[in-house]
């Protein structure tokens, strides 16, 4: 446990984005931004998944970004609008195709957070994030299978911008994978607790945990994938991931294009019972109001 925690800490300090890039390259054979006017932080590729072409997107660190507060892999203004642009491009290209032929959109997720910067706030970062969220969700509602594959970090505004509107979410079962609303140090400061207290609470309270296995208990994930080498996946691991993504695409196409599965899954029926009860009561009272 101690060792795996250590790996998690290392991933937090120095390796963010490396996993994203490694998996993007492994799954698409490409590792570049689409065009010169796309920031180097947004990787885009059209690549085969199974027997169809899919759009793959990934946000990686760009140490040379003109915006200082995104250089470690945060999602900022350029990233939000570029993601939105690329997703809408696919949406428009497939708009006259039947639902079964709309291309899958695969978000490979390893994002630190949103950018914590004054430039970003001044120019309305919330709208860039909203535009990207809107594009992913619009693609999903139009019938594109949108699959999110979390291979590293998926934090707060970063995940809302890139990945959280997917029909199905896959994640690596690994100590270096963290899905959370805020990183430990900041959450501890804001809630006036020590990091140790926060970790202890996470063991008792699954929604507060930083462990991806606890996250899986919430019922929001489609599948956890175990691999031995998440930083440098070998061929069989890449093939396994590819099969899991293909299965998720098939499953997404069979279901409704909304996010209902996240509250109806067996795990969610248990972990989200209070929210589900509030929803059921709202449905009942709405009819009579």
């Amino acid at each position: 446990m101690e060792e795996s925690q250590l790996e998690g800490e290392n991933a937090m300090s120095g390796h963010i984005g490396l996993r994203g890039k490694a998996w993007f390259q492994a799954l698409t054979g490409q590792n570049e931004a689409r065009e010169h006017d796309d920031p180097a932080s947004v990787l885009t590729a059209d690549a085969l998944i199974g027997d169809e072409h899919a759009l793959f997107l990934c946000v990686i660190p760009n140490p040379g970004s003109r915006f200082p507060c995104v250089r470690d892999g945060q999602v900022g203004l350029d990233e939000g609008y570029t993601l939105a642009h690329r997703v809408r491009e696919a949406l428009n290209a497939d708009k006259d195709k039947p639902k079964s032929q709309k291309r899958p959109i695969i978000a490979i997720v390893d994002v630190k957070s949103q950018a914590y910067g004054r430039r970003e706030e001044t120019a309305g970062l919330f709208l860039a994030a909203a535009a990207s969220s809107d594009a992913y969700a619009s693609a999903r509602m139009a019938g594109h299978p949108v699959i999110s594959f979390v291979v590293g970090h998926a934090f707060s505004g970063g995940f809302l911008t890139h990945g959280y509107q997917a029909n199905r979410i896959l994640a690596l079962d690994d100590a270096g994978v963290t899905i959370h609303a805020m990183h430990k140090e900041a959450a501890a400061k804001i809630t006036r607790r020590s990091v140790a207290d926060l970790e202890r609470l996470g063991q008792q309270i699954p929604p507060m945990s930083y462990n991806v296995q606890d996250y899986a208990k919430l019922g929001l994930l489609h599948q956890l994938l175990h691999v031995e080498s998440p930083l440098e996946p070998n061929l069989s691991e890449v093939n396994e991931a590819r099969s899991a993504i293909i299965a998720a695409i098939v499953d997404a196409r069979k279901g409704p294009p909304d996010l209902g599965v996240r509250r109806e899954s067996r795990a969610a029926q248990k972990s989200r019972s209070a929210g589900n009860a509030a929803r059921a009561l709202m449905e009942h009272q709405w009819k009579n109001a």
């Binding site: 006017d37 003109r66 609008y81 570029t82 939105a84 642009h85 914590y116 910067g117 004054r118 970003e120 706030e121 001044t122 120019a123 309305g124 970062l125 919330f126 709208l127 860039a128 994030a129 909203a130 535009a131 969220s133 809107d134 969700a137 619009s138 509602m141 707060s156 505004g157 809302l160 959280y164 899905i179 959370h180 609303a181 805020m182 900041a186 959450a187 804001i190 809630t191 309270i205 699954p206 929604p207 507060m208 996250y215 919430l218 929001l220 996010l259 996240r262 509250r263 989200r272 209070a274 929210g275 589900n276 009860a277 509030a278 929803r279 009561l281 709202m282 009272q285 709405w286 109001a289």
Partner: protein
């Protein structure tokens, strides 16, 4: 001698900001037309707060009222800024999502039902962390569904402001109404100062905060649709106007190319002067309208 008729108008104007979340929602509806759903008597409380020694509230800080505005079906969802900073937890989030989804179902069935979101919130409730973040993703998804059929109107009156993931909810809304006292942004000043340092953002500099996040700035830039005075009548009439207007031809968060171009031309080599940016975008907006 003080003359009695010298009382300034704002003294007699009913303040909207001084109302609590429930009173704010009630104030928007046609008289006698509304009813609160899943209210405090239903005692739908957060299961996670008591486990951490925090007293829950019977409405979980989210008030849902259904009724009529200007004679049209509408639902108001109001976040109580005085309870846990208006934060989104499992139950408050589920109430919000359910109300939006039910408005979508009614709208699809031929009864367009507008939603009014009264947002005073810092975003995710950290005591419910991942269920709060998941709820926000679902709120965004449900707004995007509903706005295809009926307008979703976000009102940020003050004084908490609208921050964190819920700023994306404002971002995907059909219309945003703000007062001068209101603020809108992804990261609040304290969070930026904590994460990037005081040089990046001095959270004690109130003039700086309002110059960036304030309602006058957001409306001036075209990131909010209406700037209204803090009065019950003023805010209610702005909401009525947008309910009657119905959904816009294009939503702001769909205008990707417009904003992508604007961001591409930003000079990021130093901090951006908020007022200069406002003037620049304002002139672009007025040109855009004539195109």
């Amino acid at each position: 001698m003080i003359e009695t008729n010298a009382i300034p108008a704002f003294v007699n104007r009913g303040s909207f900001i001084e109302l609590n979340g429930r009173e704010r929602a009630q104030a928007l509806f046609d008289k006698g037309s509304w009813r609160e759903l899943v209210g405090p008597f239903d005692r739908m409380v957060s299961p996670w707060l008591p486990m951490q020694g925090v007293a829950p509230e019977f409405d979980d800080g989210c008030i849902v009222i259904k009724g009529k505005i200007s004679g049209k079906p509408a639902v108001a969802i109001s976040l109580e800024g005085a309870f846990q900073g208006g934060s989104i937890g499992e139950v408050s989030g589920a109430k919000m999502v359910a109300a939006l989804d039910l408005a979508t179902i009614d709208s699809r069935d031929g009864k367009p039902t507008a939603a009014i979101l009264l947002l005073e919130t810092g975003g995710v409730r950290l005591q419910e962390a991942n269920l709060g973040l998941a709820a926000i993703a679902e709120v965004i998804a449900s707004i995007l569904e509903l706005r295809q059929h009926a307008p979703v109107i976000t009102v940020i009156a003050g004084t908490v402001g609208c921050f964190g993931g819920m700023a994306l909810a404002a971002g995907v809304s059909s219309y945003v109404v703000m007062t001068r006292e209101a603020r809108l942004g992804l990261n609040g000043p304290e969070v930026i100062e904590q994460e990037s340092g005081k040089d990046e953002f001095d959270a004690s500099d109130r003039a700086l905060i309002w110059s960036i996040h304030g309602g006058e700035q957001r409306a001036g830039m075209g990131l909010a649709d209406d700037l209204v005075e803090d009065s019950v009548d003023g805010i209610a009439s702005a909401v009525q106007q947008f309910v009657r207007a119905g959904k816009p031809a294009q939503h702001r968060s769909e205008q990707v190319e417009l904003y992508r171009r604007r961001i591409a031309t930003l000079d990021a080599s130093s901090q951006i002067d908020p007022l200069a940016l406002r003037e620049q975008w304002k002139s672009l907006n007025s040109k855009g309208r004539t195109q």
